[in-house]
């Protein structure tokens, strides 16, 4: 896809994300050929859609599609890690496989693909939905539409079906792609919060002038833009260098940036931004939950720090 095609495609995607959510958006994406683009050019597909999805505060099954594509397993929905965790949702314990994960956008799935940490590595098993407990999550962000999936299986099941080539599952690569996707969604949501706060600051008059003229307000919004651009640059660089460490750093920066954006924008929107009459709260809720998916800012940062102190080596210098 050349630059012109991509621009056109992005315009269609934008309209779709603004108009639809959930299964309707999935159908629209399928019609637009997003799934094909995901197979052919993952960076273009992921960066464009997820920023728009974040900006529109909408939902789709696209994150699950990204995991399927990366693991080469579609069309079985791949279970996400449990909230707060970046580890596979399945774990071999004693003679059982303990499953604790999340899923979105697969209401009628007959089965799930569960990646399992076996202690020696990772494998994957297809588990019938009936063998698991599903709890639709209301929670902090009821509009996100995630379902919590739990269960415990006999360990014999863990040797079940593996992807096409029968090789071990590359969980770190799939996780890195999911982190980048979520990073872009966080950036999209952050940019939209900034736009909402900016518009309010220009309109809202106090002491006979728009509050946008007060330096305290301006600097909060400037700091928000810095935080958003910081995350955005790190995401672009992570695509460029392709390493899993960079993807984790970019996700952490996007999560931190989004929380900074939520804090400053909520403060600028003040009273109205604290009500459900303004849309800001939907974004605040969304970024708080997205930050917890596939590793939170805090857990990713902590894990990186421990690894840096263990190895004594910084990640390689990003090349010019």
């Amino acid at each position: 896809m050349d630059a012109g095609d991509l621009e056109l495609f992005e315009r269609s995607l934008r309209a779709a994300t603004q108009r639809h959510r959930g299964a309707e958006l999935d159908a629209a994406l399928a019609e637009l050929g997003w799934t094909e683009l995901l197979a052919e050019e993952p960076p273009a597909a992921i960066t464009t859609l997820f920023e728009l999805q974040g900006a529109a505060n909408t939902t789709s099954a696209s994150l699950t599609r990204v995991l399927e594509e990366s693991l080469g397993v579609g069309p079985v929905p791949v279970l996400w890690p449990a909230l707060g965790s970046a580890d596979p949702p399945g774990c071999l314990r004693d003679s059982s496989v303990v499953i604790h994960g999340l899923i979105a956008g697969a209401p009628d799935a007959g089965s799930y693909l569960v990646v399992i940490n076996t202690g020696q590595g990772t494998s994957a098993v297809e588990v019938p939905a009936g063998a698991l407990t599903a709890r639709p999550v209301h929670g902090m962000d009821p509009w996100l539409g995630v379902v919590e999936i739990t269960g415990r299986l006999n360990s014999g099941a863990a040797s079940g079906s593996v992807p096409d080539d029968g090789g071990p599952v590359d969980w770190p690569a799939a996780r890195a792609l999911a982190q980048l996707a979520l990073g872009h969604e966080l950036v999209g949501a952050s940019r939209q919060m900034l736009e909402l706060a900016r518009a309010h600051a220009l309109e809202r008059v106090q002491f006979d002038r728009p509050i946008a003229s007060f330096q305290a307000v301006r600097h909060r919004l400037a700091d928000t833009l810095v935080a958003v651009e910081t995350a955005s640059a790190a995401l672009d660089a992570a695509w460029e260098d392709g390493s899993e460490v960079s993807a984790g750093m970019a996700k952490a920066l996007a999560g931190r940036g989004a929380r900074t954006a939520a804090r400053h924008c909520q403060q600028v929107l003040a009273g109205i931004g604290f009500t459900t009459e303004h849309v800001l709260h939907r974004y605040v809720r969304r970024v708080l939950v997205l930050d917890q998916l596939f590793g939170s800012t805090r857990s990713l940062t902590r894990a990186l720090g421990e690894e840096l102190l263990r190895s004594g080596r910084l990640p390689p210098l990003l090349a010019l």
């Binding site: 900034l194 900016r198 600051a201 220009l202 002038r209 728009p210 946008a212 003229s213 007060f214 330096q215 301006r218 600097h219 919004l221 400037a222 700091d223 833009l225 810095v226 651009e229 910081t230 995350a231 640059a233 790190a234 672009d236 660089a237 960079s246 750093m249 952490a252 920066l253 805090r298 940062t301 902590r302 894990a303 990186l304 720090g305 421990e306 840096l308 102190l309 004594g312 080596r313 910084l314 990640p315 210098l317 990003l318 010019l320």
Partner: protein
């Protein structure tokens, strides 16, 4: 020459000439020694052609993308061959000369800067003019052969070493603000110039007060037209926040690695180490994108204020961590290595002050990038 070829051949040359290029053990200890090392490295790199790549042929360059210059500075910095702050003055002042000096003047002067023969300084700030640059009052009046300058500059980095100065002067009324400013290229040995170095908190006479008493500057030394000085300054500032910052990011990466190598077990908090590493990575990612925009010929503008804010945050994070991880050395060590850590840790405190303070950068972001209108 493309970037990959440049990278490979330059890296090989740096390895082959390691001994010749290497700094003396005490090369970081004084500014005199740093300047001598800088001049040596620039001369060797210029003679071998490296220093000429990425600059136009009309000023003695060999042409090619600006990315080549960015990589050269990075390569010299990661090998600890130059101090990036003083190295990057070239990246700030040479483009100004190329864009605004008369072609003969640029052709005569820029090569002297590239080959390490000369140091130039930037006479912008004044006692009454820090953040509010448009209020400057150092006056130039027409004289028989050009301009006669009277006034004072402050915070002029490296003035005591400099042979030339890119000087902003007031040629209109004070009320004319940014419209009445003219830029001049002044010989620092002109009669009437007095330089008084100032000792900084980090123990270096990095900048000076410079006094001008009826200093004659020939007409052909004007940069741009009369009254165009504000454009000269505004076009120069993004250079302070592009290639120079790319070099600074390489420097921060190297010092952070050195900190990991040196800190005693248990002295570093893993979360803070990782936050700092993420910030340095993001700063480098942002600066990389800016380098590529510059190389594509895009005009850099107020968006480079984000690069500057990020640089200051990253630098202060790195040296806050140094203060914790190497506390004993930084607070009480008096050997070469610890003197260097201490000096750098103190210098980092200036990162939110120089080159447009953190507050000014945020004002620029609010006004120019977020379009929030005038402030009160």
């Amino acid at each position: 020459m493309d970037l990959d070829e440049f990278r490979t051949t330059l890296d090989a040359w740096l390895t082959d000439h390691e001994a010749e290029l290497a700094p003396a053990p005490e090369a970081h200890d004084t500014l005199d020694a740093q300047m001598a090392q800088l001049s040596k490295v620039k001369r060797l790199a210029h003679d071998a052609g490296w220093m000429r790549w990425g600059w136009p042929e009309r000023v003695g360059g060999l042409g090619g993308s600006a990315l080549l210059r960015a990589y050269l500075g990075e390569a010299l910095t990661v090998r600890d061959l130059v101090e990036p702050g003083i190295y990057s003055m070239t990246e700030v002042l040479a483009p100004t000369m190329i864009d605004y000096a008369q072609p003969e003047l640029a052709a005569a002067m820029v090569p002297r800067l590239l080959q390490g023969e000369e140091t130039w300084c930037q006479g912008f700030s004044e006692p009454g003019t820090g953040s509010n640059l448009a209020a400057l009052s150092c006056r130039a009046v027409p004289s028989e052969h050009g301009w006669r300058v009277t006034g004072q500059k402050l915070w002029t980095s490296l003035a005591q070493y400099a042979q030339r100065c890119v000087l902003l002067t007031r040629t209109g009324t004070v009320e004319s603000a940014h419209r009445g400013i003219t830029a001049l290229f002044v010989d620092m040995d002109s009669p009437g110039i007095t330089v008084r170095p100032i000792q900084t908190m980090h123990g270096v006479e990095e900048f000076s007060e410079v006094f001008f008493d009826d200093v004659e500057v020939p007409l052909e030394r004007m940069l741009g037209r009369e009254g165009q000085g504000w454009s000269v300054a505004m076009d120069l500032l993004p250079y302070e926040r592009s290639t120079a910052l790319w070099h600074r990011a390489a420097y921060l990466h190297r010092r952070l690695q050195r900190l990991l190598d040196s800190a005693p077990a248990g002295a570093l908090d893993p979360t803070v180490v990782a936050e700092t590493t993420q910030l340095v990575y993001a700063f480098r990612a942002r600066s990389r994108a800016t380098q590529h925009r510059l190389a594509r010929g895009e005009t850099l503008g107020p968006e480079t204020s984000i690069d500057k804010v990020l640089m200051a945050s990253a630098e202060q994070a790195v040296f806050e961590l140094v203060g914790d991880g190497l506390a004993v050395g930084v607070m009480t060590g008096d050997d070469l290595e610890n003197r260097r850590w201490r000096s750098e840790a103190l210098y980092a405190r200036a990162a939110t002050i120089y080159g447009g303070s953190a507050e000014i950068q945020r004002n620029v972001i609010a006004r120019r990038l977020l379009d929030l209108g005038k402030d009160t």
